[in-house]
Subunit: 272 residues, 2 copies
């Protein structure tokens, strides 16, 4: 096992920068001919794992759609994760967790500790209580060679108010987070950092004054249904850092039988 | 059933402003003589429910400590919630969830829909992606007469960088969130709003330029171990809005046999 950042570079190089979302929204379940029930989350998730493995760098279960079914939904996610661990694909838990002290440490243990049934390769987190509030999770990730993606500048228009606010250094909130993450990555032992940023595919990082550090991975949601174009991936972020292009609905809407073809097409577009 | 804001006013008036945390941290489990296992989360949580019901306005399970045990931990939380629903106590799910679009709506359905096993009276949420990103959750809460507490100004020192940043209106991020929540509450049908703010017990709201609206409930963590003093509750927030004083460790450390006495003492202090 090696640090997440290095594994991510290999996964993108060996396969593609594609990250396929597992978003079992009730509408999608219906389109797939599945009832809105925990067992459907399991079969939906497993279908995506099998189609994405060997093709995409990563899969990204949206935890909200599993939590929507309570503990039974989380149990289904655990089953999906158990299968994914044996496949040729990284798993990013899209949970956007955040808190302070022993509480945020407990979230870290839930998702980044090898003994947890929710163990994933990387987790999305929120720094509303300060990048420093996540320190215990950064340490846990490092210890177990896991990764994190910190929310930084997101695609939804309502986000600008907070993410463009000016901090005491004169930077935007987003730029401050990006700089603090870059510092953490520069202190890492591996050549590529394991703490990434979530940067929306439809934003212009220059609007936020963000310097995308060459050692900081990027998770970019917002391709497809949200307006980002996969063919623009290479020009979106002016840096040599690895960028994961997250695509969900526009692949998942092809149904279980159309998944492989839709993933192959997305890989071809993003690699062209 | 009435709107959450009205129920909260009644609960504080009938019992006390105390909100007892359910934080089954591994250290506390050990102090209680319990192994670090899902079954212990259940008995820990049920003990707090029984001790707090009829005395405290609310209980506040910290979801991170349940999620730490995966689906089995969440199952234990569901059992605790099922018992709490029949007791004389409001339940605030301290999950600090946040996302956009259908994902954040799914979190809302997990915690605020009557058919969900995780159904609670109110949920804590994070607005890092903008107060507007939570719109679907506000609607769901209103529909089912549930409440929300939006993270606003928190007690941990690392939070100041983001929460004190200046938005385009010239306000701090925290003040902007407080104002946007007040507007939402002014449009509510009930006399007391159901969307509250999380304001740390150790901060001075004036430092953040926050106007605490008289129709906006406050959840104030940080009493006890974190330095806030229960005897200061009435002077902490210069408003007539209902304030819940959240206390966790300094009550829970008294163990299962000392819970009732510790809660009675906290109620006496906060009501003096």
């Amino acid at each position: 096992m090696t640090a997440f950042g290095s594994r991510l570079v290999s996964a993108i190089s060996d396969r593609s920068p594609l990250c396929v979302g597992i978003d079992p929204h009730p509408h999608l379940l219906r389109d797939w001919g599945l009832p809105d029930a925990p067992e459907s989350l399991r079969s939906f998730g497993l279908a995506v794992v099998e189609a994405a493995a060997g093709r995409a760098a990563a899969i990204k279960p949206q935890v909200a759609f599993f939590e929507r079914h309570g503990s039974a939904g989380l149990r289904a996610l655990e089953d999906v994760l158990a299968v994914a661990r044996d496949r040729d694909v990284l798993v990013i838990g899209d949970a956007k967790r955040g808190d302070v002290g022993t509480s945020v440490a407990a979230y870290g243990e839930a998702w980044l500790h090898p003994d947890s049934p929710l163990f994933v390769d990387a987790l999305t987190v929120s720094a509303f209580q300060g990048t420093g509030s996540l320190a215990s999770v950064f340490e846990l990730a490092s210890e177990h060679e896991r990764g994190l993606f910190v929310l930084c500048a997101t695609s939804n228009p309502e986000a600008a108010g907070i993410q463009l606010a000016t901090t005491e250094t004169g930077e935007t909130v987003a730029a401050t987070i990006a700089r603090e993450v870059a510092v953490l990555n520069s202190a890492a032992a591996s050549s590529m950092g394991s703490i990434g940023l979530v940067l929306g595919a439809t934003i212009d990082v220059r609007d936020f004054g963000i310097e995308v550090d060459a050692n900081t991975p990027v998770l970019a949601p917002g391709f497809g249904a949200q307006g980002g174009r996969l063919e623009d991936l290479r020009t979106l972020f002016p840096a040599s850092a690895p960028v994961l292009a997250a695509v969900s609905r526009s692949i998942l809407e092809h149904g279980p039988d159309g998944l492989v073809a839709a993933i192959d097409e997305a890989v071809a577009t993003v690699s062209a």
